[in-house]
Symmetry: D4
Subunit: 174 residues, 8 copies
């Protein structure tokens, strides 16, 4: 796979440390993506153009992360028939509740697939699941990722059982 399938857009470069988790997990799953800084409010025309041309450029899914009055995902969804995933970001005094409401409470006709506040990694996995809805190879990779997560939990439980709480916690701190 080499064509870019997922666009990851964020409103500011201060969002990059959180949003890069989407890019990282897509890389891990072998799905090419691009990372773009574009603000719904500061450069609205560029944002609209990005969304409007997404189909012709071959994107299948767009992920948009923004904080506070987070309009980015909604604005993009207004300009494309592609599925848009919204990541409400925790920034400012309301801790992301404002971004969550501004992202998820979309009016009828223009949905945004919202994940948890700061849930950029899950946004990447959801993008892969969306591609995997019809692409069996990608779906298998998602299933493998989930199996790995399950194994990690089981291993931790076994280790805790073996070591006991005190030794386990002492190791955790190192």
């Amino acid at each position: 796979m080499s064509k870019i399938l997922v666009g990851i857009v964020m409103g500011s470069d201060s969002d990059l440390p959180v949003m890069r988790a989407a890019s990282d997990v897509l890389g891990e799953l072998g799905i090419p993506c691009e990372v773009v800084i574009s603000s719904a409010h500061r450069i609205p025309d560029k944002t609209a153009t990005y969304a409007r041309t997404a189909v012709e450029r071959g994107l299948a899914v767009i992920i948009a992360g923004a904080g506070q009055a987070a309009h980015l995902a909604g604005v993009i969804a207004a300009h494309t028939p592609l599925p848009v995933i919204g990541v409400p970001l925790q920034s400012g005094p309301l801790n992301g509740v404002d971004a969550l409401y501004a992202t998820v409470q979309m009016p009828s006709g223009i949905p945004v697939a919202t994940v948890a506040i700061n849930g950029a990694k899950n946004a990447g996995i959801l993008a892969a699941q969306i591609i995997g809805a019809t692409d069996l190879e990608v779906r298998a990779k998602v299933a493998a990722l989930k199996a790995k997560l399950a194994r990690q939990v089981a291993e931790k439980d076994a280790l805790l059982n073996e070591l006991g709480i005190d030794v386990y916690l002492a190791r955790l701190k190192k």
Copy 2:
């Protein structure tokens, strides 16, 4: 005064019963305005064009009312240097808290002058105050409106004092 100075935009005709209060009070103050239905999500290009051409059409202020993930005021503010007043509307299960956060929590550089949830009348008065910041005739009309409100409170207090609680409340119910 006959040139239209204030544009009142709302996302849906279901917002009209609340938003008309802005139009009504501007009419009372003799400030011409226009009322427009235009959705940030359903017809984003028309909304952007409306905002972008506001200056050349001679508008001085834009009022935007929307509910839930209320992006309308922010989208308009992104496309004009004019002051934009946002009216968060009470609709849906969150009672307008979502609309309040989505309207007021704008990022640095693109303010929206937000009034109370469903505060359409105050949006109209604020638009008049903005015009009155430099237009002394309009300012005088705003001052007169506030004086009228003050008189009404004083008259009610006098009447309550005269009638007592029981008779006053009985009249109120009629």
Copy 3:
């Protein structure tokens, strides 16, 4: 198209009046779906089995609607690599904020694509967009639906412009 692609699951038949909007819009878009009542808490094994067998039965997307401590979408997402759309339902004294948090705040690894509280119609559209991420025919239908919504807003605006507020509102009430 005749194979069932979307499963719509809800926790109780009292959710049906809201959740049917997902089924209706999918019908309008020509995408076959099935409607199932299955509770994450009351019949957890059946729910798990439904999710685990979704791939082999040919589903591409699952929509899950639940209220209060809304675990249904998360439980289903735990058992399938398919994308799962969660609809938080407004029920009980917290008006759906509990369901929103319980649906959207999923841990890393297991995303739920959350739409607005009671946003069942948008869940159906999002399911179509997900299928349309790779199916161009479905994508065209989604684009047509959005164009219809845009036209409706424009028509209402034109009508309001023609009739004025009072006559328009009088018609709306009828």
Copy 4:
């Protein structure tokens, strides 16, 4: 007493520093317990099996701690007739309000006995109270624990009375 009566389950080893307080207080009360890491979302089948076999393994109560969209206690309650105590954990930007709602707002038929956010120690005491509802020896130990807490408050009050605020606070800081 040597048979394990209480199972303490948590979704991640990052919950262990908080959840160990349940284990500690049960140890103090002489009630054997086991500590398990098992995620409702990442290894749902193991979690379901754990809950379903709890009765035959002789457990009397299960304590489950989880954060964010905290489904763990509810999922366990769905698979056992034993009383299940839920500990909503403070993690992520919503500070545990999401976990509280996701734990306590259970549907009719499947209760979760919810304690305070991060209230792991109280979960352990409640487990002991539940066993003590019919076991008089355990009940006496609970009563003794509460009497000790009462004495501590009384001693602090006496010391404050003796030392005065400034000296007392200076000692507290050491």
Copy 5:
């Protein structure tokens, strides 16, 4: 079984229409209970005495329901080593969020087993589960109740499958 095992206390007779669900489900499960009106604030001494004498009168569990600044469950828990179940009631402008916080956020040492806002039926079931933690006959009754709930969901699903949405909803309305 004829000895009274569960005390159901509420702060006001206006709580009775909601709280009677606890009494009803306990009756259905064959567990004798008593229903008492006693306010933590209006008759604090009677409330304290009720809690303090609960053990000697043979109670095993106490259920307390209250609204707003709901102190009833906490006050009772302060006076008895028995497990206390709190039912936050929806009353007044905050819809029960105040009662939820006032019931669940208990300090270390004095837990209250909190159920959902207005969750009186679940409080009754939880009381039975607590008794069933050591009484196998009661536990079997709880298991049977849960199995009945599961069957009801399955039957509704089958009926919906048979009738389709429109006919099913038409029947529901009757």
Copy 6:
């Protein structure tokens, strides 16, 4: 004045650093007070006795500070006809919103005069105002305190005017 007129009660010695502000301001106003640690939940009988004997010991006002499910002020108000001032304390993950609701939302008949979260200094001033409702000497001291606060604001404004923002802020940091 030498008789103790105000009792300041708090649930834990960890509340002392905040609650001492009430004692300090009462000292500044020359009103004798006592400081007591007494928990509504851990030593309920001592707390009830303290409240019940307040009148005979000559107290005129009681201040009670507590966090989380803050019942202390309500419990005291239940046992005395004296005015009770409640200070909701910021502790735990809900930042004092739980304590605010648990303190202020009292049922009809048993008011608690609630001040801001962590508002211990204001609780002391309010206690003085209550005594000053009939004691003109105390009232004059309250008026003098408020005048001092007013002067401080005016002095800061004059200094800012003189120094400019940069120099003023540089001084503030020292």
Copy 7:
């Protein structure tokens, strides 16, 4: 007693149906009061004058009720050394949470004694308790009122015990 001791102020005559409960209970306790409509925002000078002259007119306590951005109690407290009781009123989409925060979260130096949302009756009782802090006759009346409330609860409990739930509820409905 015939001198007016308590002033009850409200921002609008629409607050009268709730606020009259303060007047009613003060009447019941034999404490003369006056009822005034005066808005902090619409007639700020009259409101300030009312507060500033309260001492010379002989008032001992002022009760202020307002909704939404409820500034009335704070504005009055800014102009008088008398104790001011704030009643946050439930009006508008935020159900009184806005009024609660705007009333209780006062800055250091200017307390407002806040009661529950719509807690006008408790405001009246608190005013009586404040007067009773030094007036033993009034204090005795408050104690008698509380004793009456206690008797009412006890009588309801006895009646419920006698009649059983079904008959009691049937009577309640009549």
Copy 8:
């Protein structure tokens, strides 16, 4: 331009580090302003006088910043026909939600143009937009400021595209 057009008022000098952003951006736009410390509660008369004389002193807009029960903007709006911009400040345990509600939820007749919590820079820009509603030179400066912001976003995006995530983030940290 040399006449002072904008007054920036704040309740305490502790608000200065946040509020100076309004002054800074107005300086950048060449609009003279004054900065004043004046509390609605501690020196209400000075605050009222400041607002009442604003017109005669030639001000066109007033910006008011306050935290908690933030009455400052509302009190000023009550005394002037000029447009008043409110900046809710994040201070205390409620993180500015209290200040937001107390600022924005103004009653009909007395609007406050509210910006985001801590949104002092946007308050300055909004003040410029208000002056620019009729002053074309100021409007052009606002448009230039917005264009600069747009360019900065575009430059960051280009740089990220050139450097890649890792190098970009490494530079950001420096």
